[in-house]
Each structure stands twice: as C-alpha cells, then as structure tokens.
Amino acid sequence: MQRRIPARAFSFEYIMWMFMRISGLTMSILALVGIGYALYIGARTQMDMGTLLRWTFFPIGTHVAASDIAVLEQWINPFWTIMQYVMILFAITHAFNGFRMVVEDFMGAGWGTQLFRGLVALLWLFSLFIAFNIIQTSGAI
C-alpha cells in the first residue's frame, strides 16, 4: 500500500512540529535559569531536591513559601511572574499537543479525529485557565 505523503506546506501539523521543538528548547533554557537562580540564592545548602525543582519548573508563591528558607523578597517581582506564565503556557501546549500526536497515531482520518481535536482543545483551554488561576491566587505580586 502506497503511503500518501502530505504536500509540504505551512500547515497545522508543520506549525505544531516546529512548536514542539521550539517550546522544548525554551523550556530547557527556562529550567536552567530557574536552577541557576536557585543555586545562586543558596539552594546547595538550604534547599532539598523538591524545593530546587519547584524553583526550576514553577516558582509560584505556594511553592516558594513551602521551602525552608525565606526567599520571598528575592522572588516577588514581575520577572518571575512572567517566567511562570511563559513556562506554563509552553508546558501545557507542548503536553496536550504531544498527547494529541500520540493518540492520533492510533486513529484513522474522519470526523472522529475532528471531534477528538475539539476535545483536546477544550482540555487545553481548561488547563490553562486552572494554571493561570493558580498563579494569580498564589500570592504573587
């Protein structure tokens, strides 16, 4: 059976393919910035592994307040709030697109795929809403 190869175009799949690479790279850099800053403010002697990783991936208020050292004054500023929003936006989009790719590998074409994509889009928006709500209510700024 001849496999039908889609024509090369600026399609949805191409955009998402590019997005997965770019967001993956971005999240790695954001994580390194988080680890770097946590080490700079004394993670080596004053944080456990969980706290360090909270700083790395999602330095929101409840996470940082849960650590042993009082770092809030070094952390409450717009820079880290922007970091949280960028990280969570990339992470949730990357995650749900990856989920969509895996599931669609086991689906044929047709209206079922369209329905599934609609459901994933709804879940994606719902997760973004929840995550943004957590950032807003976590005592930041």
């Binding site: 790695s28 895996v102 957590i134």
Partner: protein, 128 residues
C-alpha cells in the same frame, strides 16, 4: 487515510529496532506520564486552593512521596535530554547518520544526572 497496520501490541514489541525504538517508546511513555502526574498535581493544587478539598491533598501526598518522585524524575530527565537530542538531529539532519551514537551520548548524560538526583532523594528520605 491512515495506514492499515495489522500489527498487535506483542508483535510490535518483538520489532528489533534497538536504541532508537526504545528511545521513541520511552519518550512517548515519559511524556504521557508527565502530562498525567503533573496535570493531577496542578488539579490537586487548584482543588485545595479554591475549595479546600481533601482530594487535592490526597493526590499531592502520593505525588510528593519520595518513591514516586524517583519515577517522576526519571521521566522528566529522560524526556528533556532525549528531546534535546531530537531537536539537534531534526535541525541538523546531516547528523542523522550518527543517530545511534547520539542516543548513546544522551544516555551518558541522562544516567549520571538521574543517579545523582536519585542518590540525593534516597539519602534524604532514609537519613531524614
């Protein structure tokens, strides 16, 4: 139109794809696990913060347990380093010739980082 594949799950496992196949499987598995666990963790935090629900606390007790973190760390470190390998090979396709070597190299990065993290978690959990 999707490809018609009459290949079962167990048959698929016998495919001798070697390193690239296992990297592909582990990448998907770790990605889906991260979506599941971190998604539950975020929903748990939301439920606790908004409704004071016990469900969120119950989720996070499991999520933050040290033995569970061992799995989460492996998934995240593997997914991150293997993902960087995929990015590098995709943006410089000439390097695809060395894909197997690249996978070995990624394991040489993953395992030391993981065992360092696991060592820290275990000594902290057992030593108090």
């Amino acid at each position: 139109m999707a490809l018609k594949r009459n290949v079962g799950f167990w048959q698929g496992l016998k495919y001798k794809g070697g390193g690239p196949m296992w990297a592909w499987i582990l990448h998907r598995l770790s990605g889906l696990s991260i979506l599941l666990f971190v998604g539950l963790h975020v929903i748990g935090a939301f439920l606790t913060a908004q409704f004071g629900s016990d469900v969120g606390i119950a989720i996070n007790v499991i999520y933050e347990a040290w033995w569970f973190q061992l799995f989460v760390y492996f998934g995240i470190i593997f997914h991150a380093v293997n993902g960087l390998r995929i990015i590098i090979l995709d943006f410089w396709p000439a390097l695809l010739e060395y894909e197997r070597e690249a996978i070995w190299a990624s394991w040489f990065v993953i395992l030391p980082i993981y065992f360092l993290a696991a060592f820290s978690i275990i000594t902290h959990a057992l030593g108090g």
